[in-house]
C-alpha cells in the first residue's frame, strides 16, 4: 500500500521537468526518474497562474534507504516576463501530505520550492530549489539546467535540445551529479534521455493535455 501511489503515478506516466503551470484548463502528466530518485506528477492548471495536483517523490540516501512523499500540490506562477524573443518565469511550489520510510510510515510530509527559468528559441536556463520535509530527514535539492537548441524547428516539427543538468542534494548524492541529456518535444509530448557522468541513466516524460 505504501508504494501504491508511486507505482500508479510512475506506471501511468513513466518518467519530467518543465513548467509546473501551463495554459488555463491544461493538464500536465510528468515524471523524472534516476536510480536514486523519482518525481512523478499529475496537475491541472485552473488558470494560467495556478495549478494543483498530486506529486510523488522517492529519494534514496547514501546507504540505499528509501523515503517517499505523496503530496497534494499547489503551484503558482508568481511572475512571467513575455519578451519579443524570450520568456522568463518564477514559480512557487508547495505540497502537503504523507511521508513514508522504513523507520516511519504515514508521517506528515511537506514540500516547498522555488523555480526560475529563462528561455529563447535557442537557449534555456533554469534553476530550482526544493525542500522536502518529513519526520525522518529533510532534503534540500538544487537543480540547475542550461540548454541549447541546435535547430530552430517549425511549430509543428520535432524540437530538439542538448542540455546539461546539475543536481545537488547533500543527502542523496555523494557528490554533485552532472547529467548531459537530450530533450525532444513534438506537439504536446516531451521526452528526455540522459546519463550522468557516473553512468546513472535518466529518462523523463511529460505530456500536456
Amino acid at each position: 500500500m505504501r508504494n501504491l501511489w508511486g507505482l500508479l503515478l510512475v506506471g501511468f506516466c513513466s518518467v519530467a521537468f518543465a513548467h509546473p503551470v501551463i495554459y488555463q484548463d491544461g493538464w500536465v502528466i510528468s515524471s523524472m526518474t534516476m536510480a536514486d530518485m523519482t518525481d512523478a506528477n499529475v496537475s491541472y492548471s485552473f488558470s494560467s497562474r495556478w495549478s494543483s495536483g498530486i506529486n510523488y517523490w522517492r529519494l534514496s540516501d547514501m546507504q540505499g534507504n528509501e523515503q517517499e512523499w505523496q503530496l497534494a500540490k499547489l503551484n503558482h506562477l508568481a511572475y512571467r516576463y513575455n519578451g519579443d524573443d524570450s520568456q522568463a518565469n518564477l514559480y512557487l511550489h508547495s505540497g502537503l501530505g504523507r511521508s513514508d520510510s522504513e523507520q516511519n510510515e504515514n508521517r506528515l510530509g511537506y514540500m516547498m520550492g522555488l523555480e526560475a527559468d529563462w528561455e529563447t528559441r535557442k537557449y534555456f536556463l533554469s534553476a530550482k530549489y526544493l525542500h522536502l520535509g518529513s519526520a525522518d530527514t529533510d532534503h534540500g535539492i538544487w537543480v540547475g539546467r542550461v540548454g541549447i537548441s541546435p535547430i530552430l524547428a517549425d511549430f509543428s516539427s520535432l524540437q530538439s535540445w542538448a542540455m546539461l543538468q546539475v543536481w545537488h542534494d547533500p543527502i542523496t548524492a555523494r557528490e554533485t551529479k552532472i547529467t548531459p541529456l537530450l530533450r525532444f518535444f513534438y506537439h504536446n509530448v516531451l521526452w528526455e534521455m540522459g546519463s550522468s557522468l557516473k553512468g546513472d541513466m535518466m529518462l523523463n516524460l511529460m505530456v500536456h493535455l
Partner: protein
C-alpha cells in the same frame, strides 16, 4: 436573375469570412504554445485554422465560420494561454 442572387449570396459569405493576424509576445516554445490552439478551439475555431509562426511570433486565425472573435476575446484567450497579444489585424 437566379444566377445574380446566388452570386450575391456567395459574395456576401466570402465578405464575412476573415483572417485575423496578431503578434504574441513570449512565444518561444512550441509545446507551451499548443495552449493557443486549445484556447481558440474552446472559442469554436477549428485548431487546424490556427497557424503559429514561432520565427515571426505571429498567429493567424482563419475565421471561415464567422465566429464572433472580438479583440477582447482574442486578448483573453492569449492571456489564458500565458502570453501577451500585440497588434491585432483583420483581413
Amino acid at each position: 436573375m437566379r444566377i445574380f442572387i446566388l452570386l450575391g449570396i456567395l459574395l456576401s459569405f466570402s465578405a464575412m469570412a476573415e483572417t485575423i493576424n496578431f503578434g504574441v509576445k513570449g512565444m518561444v516554445c512550441s509545446m507551451c504554445a499548443q495552449g493557443i490552439k486549445k484556447k481558440f478551439k474552446a472559442l469554436g475555431v477549428d485548431p487546424e485554422k490556427v497557424q503559429v509562426d514561432l520565427d515571426k511570433k505571429l498567429v493567424s486565425v482563419d475565421n471561415d465560420k464567422n465566429i464572433k472573435l472580438t479583440d477582447q476575446a482574442i486578448t483573453d484567450a492569449i492571456k489564458d494561454a500565458g502570453y501577451e497579444v500585440v497588434d491585432i489585424k483583420r483581413q
